[in-house]
Symmetry: C2
């Protein structure tokens, strides 16, 4: 629905070349300087959850969107919507978490705005972060640059954030509690660029998960994508909860993972660079780009069959980030 | 309350030199390029009102914040929070209004994000806009640069937006309907800079109105401010409604007006430049900066007395912008 709202209504309305790229952020040329500019609004419910809260999510999310443009994130803005009656302690905790996350990512929060709305007009706390980054020189990253042969790297286990929010919201308590993977990915991306400039696509599979992100890239690049289920890292507990509740982890959100499409002969060295980052230890090559079945994602299943991984049909879970 | 939240909690939390300037946006040096970066969230209730809607307000607001930094606004991001069940027609109308406002201001919307929250978790539609502008060369604008002798220009009538929202919300219908002054000010600022570089402060008196903006500047610059009530332009109907309802128009929001502090011998030519802009026809010099009573705003009243114009005490009206 969100995808259709974007393509059917928002894009035609505001049509311009930059917006039409449909990447995680816009890449702008300002007097010869290549800047990335990105925005994201966070409405996650609950606002505190194992592994993070709405504050670090809001900082990491925009840091990652900039990093996915191939940029070094520099500056963030913060726009707060506070519901009247929100506990000051909760607000303080969220702001402290934003401060820590900004320090960890190495970005500076330079401007902000706060709006307080009457009780009932918003649910506790919404945060918008926008960010500016500077593009690494000679880097060209876009969802439209995937080429047959490209290897696809996933930087770690999938669905951790999505499963965490779902179980928290449904008040489900499991013996082995899972936690959100909320993390900044800009340091990882920097290491990757040092290993190779032949990275074609970067995408953080947030809302809609790995399945949606791969479909978007297949469409943007007009290529087919082939992945193998048994190569996709997933935590045992996450997989167990998904089976139990009937969720497909391919469509659940990640908040500290990236997909990278890399020229085949550079894939191993980029994978090694990802693994050197503290958030990339479990990275794997999960598949490759193919000339067959353009605009379709096909997965070889664990039992050896083949399954089309569709764009998520129906409604996505709201307030997952 | 909003001012105290900012100074007591947000600033200490995120302390850095740029944020501490407390101007409408941040001025950044990115590899020798001077950029302005600003963010604002719009929660105005009602979302449609005479003279505008939440859409053009959100575009004009961030355009103006950038212009008040002395920048030429270039790019905007848009972050939407939509309440489930919001009429598609209403959304479309708001987006079309944003599109028109962006075209009028000459800015491009380059990136965006949409979050849909369940019914009751937000009130219809909130919009965050963030923006990037390029600073006019040799321009140094800041709320801390007001100097004794500076003349203070107000670009037109005050309190139009505030009175419009108040009367709409209270369902008060008057014979001569007032309307919001929502307008882009960047073209006006450009004309002003062509007339003089000795403009020290620019500020759009939005939330809190002219009274709050002048107090903020007096504090930032550690100067006194003297204004004359009978020189402040105000529409007859607005003044009448304020008297009737007991509002002080000095504290009501404007969304298409600016205050400029200008070196005395350049004031007339800057005033003439403001008046040449279609949104500045009723501009006046309303007072000057004085060495006396630092950090205080004193107004010579219409009947010849003197009154201290305080920082607004108590709660500001929520959801005015």
């Amino acid at each position: 629905m969100s995808h259709r709202l974007t393509t059917d209504m928002l894009l035609p309305m505001f049509q311009n070349d930059v917006l039409a790229c449909l990447d995680d952020g816009a890449v702008l040329d300002v007097q010869g300087l290549r800047l990335a500019f990105s925005t994201d609004t966070y409405t996650v419910d609950p606002i505190f959850f194992p592994g993070g809260d709405i504050g670090d999510l809001a900082v990491n999310g925009t840091v990652n969107d900039l990093a996915m443009c191939g940029a070094n994130p520099l500056y963030l803005s913060v726009g707060l919507i506070l519901e009247e009656g929100l506990a000051m302690e909760a607000l303080k905790r969220v702001l402290q978490s934003m401060k820590r996350a900004a320090a960890a990512a190495g970005v500076t929060i330079v401007t902000g705005d706060t709006k307080v709305v009457p009780k009932g007009a918003a649910d506790r706390l919404f945060i918008n972060t926008s960010g500016i980054g500077l593009l690494h020189p000679h880097i060209r990253i876009s969802g439209s640059r995937a080429r047959p042969g490209d290897r696809i790297i996933l930087s770690g286990t999938m669905a951790d954030h999505g499963v965490t929010i779902l179980t928290q919201r449904e008040k489900l308590h499991f013996d082995s509690p899972v936690k959100s993977d909320s993390a900044p990915l800009n340091h990882m991306v920097k290491k990757m660029f040092m290993a190779s400039r032949d990275i074609h696509v970067l995408r953080d599979p947030t809302r809609g998960g790995v399945g949606t992100a791969l479909n978007e890239i297949a469409i943007q690049s007009q290529v087919g994508i082939h992945i193998e289920e048994d190569k996709i890292p997933i935590a045992k507990e996450v997989s167990g909860i998904c089976e139990l509740l009937g969720f497909d982890p391919l469509y659940l959100a990640n908040e500290g993972k990236l997909l990278a499409f890399v020229k085949p002969d550079h894939a191993d060295r980029v994978l090694a660079a990802v693994k050197r980052d503290s958030f990339g230890k479990e990275a794997c090559i999960i598949g490759e780009v193919v000339a067959d079945h353009p605009k379709k994602v096909v997965m070889k299943t664990r039992i050896g069959g083949s399954r089309i991984v569709d764009m998520l049909a129906g409604e996505q879970l709201p307030r997952i980030c």
